[in-house]
Symmetry: C2
Subunit: 307 residues, 2 copies
């Protein structure tokens, strides 16, 4: 039976690239593995797939009945995974996020490391198994590192990410800075998308204490594009918050060139949000200097404030 390999819902470039990379490694090691995704590629990922001539993975919502054996990349929390995650066997997890809400019946291969990108861990796994990385896969993997670390500038970036990104850029035959700048700009183009679509593009749900929180992030080269449409965004966020049954919905519009974020907030408790970032939310908005990482700069203070 084919083993399905996939990243989190609302896939970003790392979710899709790490699924392709792990499935490729597993196939090289003799496992019948196949990469899929829990949603279509976003514009940034589409740019990378087009550059390296890779087809977008097929989209699934459930693993069954196609398979009951799966491997998770770039996530481990059940609410970010397939709808039927509790009914299948997880053989492997490769991830770089916090560990939470995961339970297995049997021992498994579960590898999480505090690096900037799942593909950095996967590059090490290829090396450990002495499997060469094909050019197209290397291109997708370096795209994921550029995406997750904002071209190695995010606070989440480690020396491992820098070393692996340089190696992968060499295999892919790209100039890291030139390609990286183009990739981030492709991902930051808001285009003519509606507020609801932009809010949902990179959104993850968390249970922090007893509060259901949805954290949404948009990359931008010009956040005023969003701030100028603030009322439209706040209304769409409130609709989405109620629809999803969340207590709190936060939208981070991250300026990928300056390394700051503009925060929009709907729901309660706003006081916990203000405490987390030491800011005052005025008309649903606050400026967050230096905040670019949901994982490292948002989830931990919010977890503490909502405990």
């Amino acid at each position: 039976m084919t083993v399905l390999v996939f990243g989190h819902r609302n896939p970003d470039t790392d979710a899709i690239a790490s699924a392709l990379a792990l499935a490729g490694l597993e196939v090289a090691l003799g496992t019948d593995a196949h990469a899929v995704a829990l949603g279509p590629p976003n514009p940034e990922t589409a740019h990378a797939l087009a550059c390296f001539g890779v087809d977008a993975p097929g989209v699934i919502e459930r693993a069954r009945p196609e398979t009951d054996q799966v491997m998770l990349v770039d996530h481990n929390e059940r609410q970010q995974s397939v709808a039927d995650i509790d009914e299948v066997t997880v053989l492997r997890v490769v991830d770089h996020h916090r560990v939470a809400n995961f339970t297995s019946v049997l021992p498994l291969y579960f590898r999480v490391e505090p690096v900037g990108c799942t593909c950095t861990i996967l590059a090490r796994m290829y090396a450990e198994n002495e499997v060469p990385i094909p050019r197209a896969i290397a291109g997708m993997m370096v795209s994921a590192i550029i995406s997750d670390t904002l071209l190695l500038r995010s606070v989440t970036t480690t020396d491992d990410d820098r070393r692996v990104a340089a190696e992968l850029a060499g295999i892919a035959g790209i100039d890291l800075d030139t390609y990286g700048d183009a990739l981030l700009r492709a991902g930051a183009a808001l285009g003519d998308l509606g507020a609801a679509e932009l809010i949902d593009r990179d959104a993850k749900s968390y249970t922090l204490g007893t509060t259901q929180v949805r954290l949404s992030q948009i990359s931008s080269t010009d956040p005023t594009e969003v701030l100028d449409r603030r009322d439209e965004f706040l209304a769409a966020m409130e609709t989405e918050r109620v629809r999803a049954g969340e207590d709190l919905l936060l939208l981070f519009v991250t300026d990928v060139l300056r390394g700051d974020s503009e925060l929009l907030v709907v729901g309660e408790p706003v006081a916990a949000v203000e405490k987390s970032f030491s800011v005052t939310v005025v008309d649903g908005h606050a400026h967050l200097p230096g905040v670019v990482s949901r994982k490292k700069q948002v989830v931990p203070p919010l977890t503490a404030a909502l405990r």
Copy 2:
């Protein structure tokens, strides 16, 4: 601040050896790490420590106030860890059990592999970091593999365990079979210990569905020693079950030479136990041919039966 490294409560040889091994690796890599244990060594571990001239790690119940940074080996479930696990930061987890009841706020290094022994993973980590394993540590690590895999005979044994055990035996300068037989016999000697003490020596608590289960295991070269004292054991088990607030307490008396177990049961639901192993429990007892691994042959069927 010193980072404390420790295995699970009621430590077995792997819990203590893997703490010594990871702390040694961390020190070699420049971290101020120190191995401790959540209980004194059992007779088997004491035999290994004496053979290789290693002091038993100090015993702690809580990590604080000595430190708020810890590394877990040979366990990841909070109820098997220090009492104040929720108040400290877990930097690393190295384990070979199922993943459950673990939550971190920050990303961490979390490495679980489905091999027979945590020390098998640690041997690979020494190699990946190009740190040589000192003879005494190698001796403790091979002891752990012998203990967890019943001298490479348990169903949990992988090719990795076999390869690593042979390498470590070479570094430690022991004959695997001769030393292994002596180690298992040292651990299987029930001596003149009371039933309560034997029941508690290698016991772990699990929440399976809504049932609190305590699974206790004794190694023996002659299980009739325990069966001849069945009423004494059943009474001590019931006292322990009530004291610990468990629904079900199972004692596996595992014949390390034949590879079978004798099961004693107190509490409810006994029907789920009978279903798990396809046996009938008579006067609190059943014979379980071929069952030696709590992790692989007990927890999974019991989880299914109690779901």
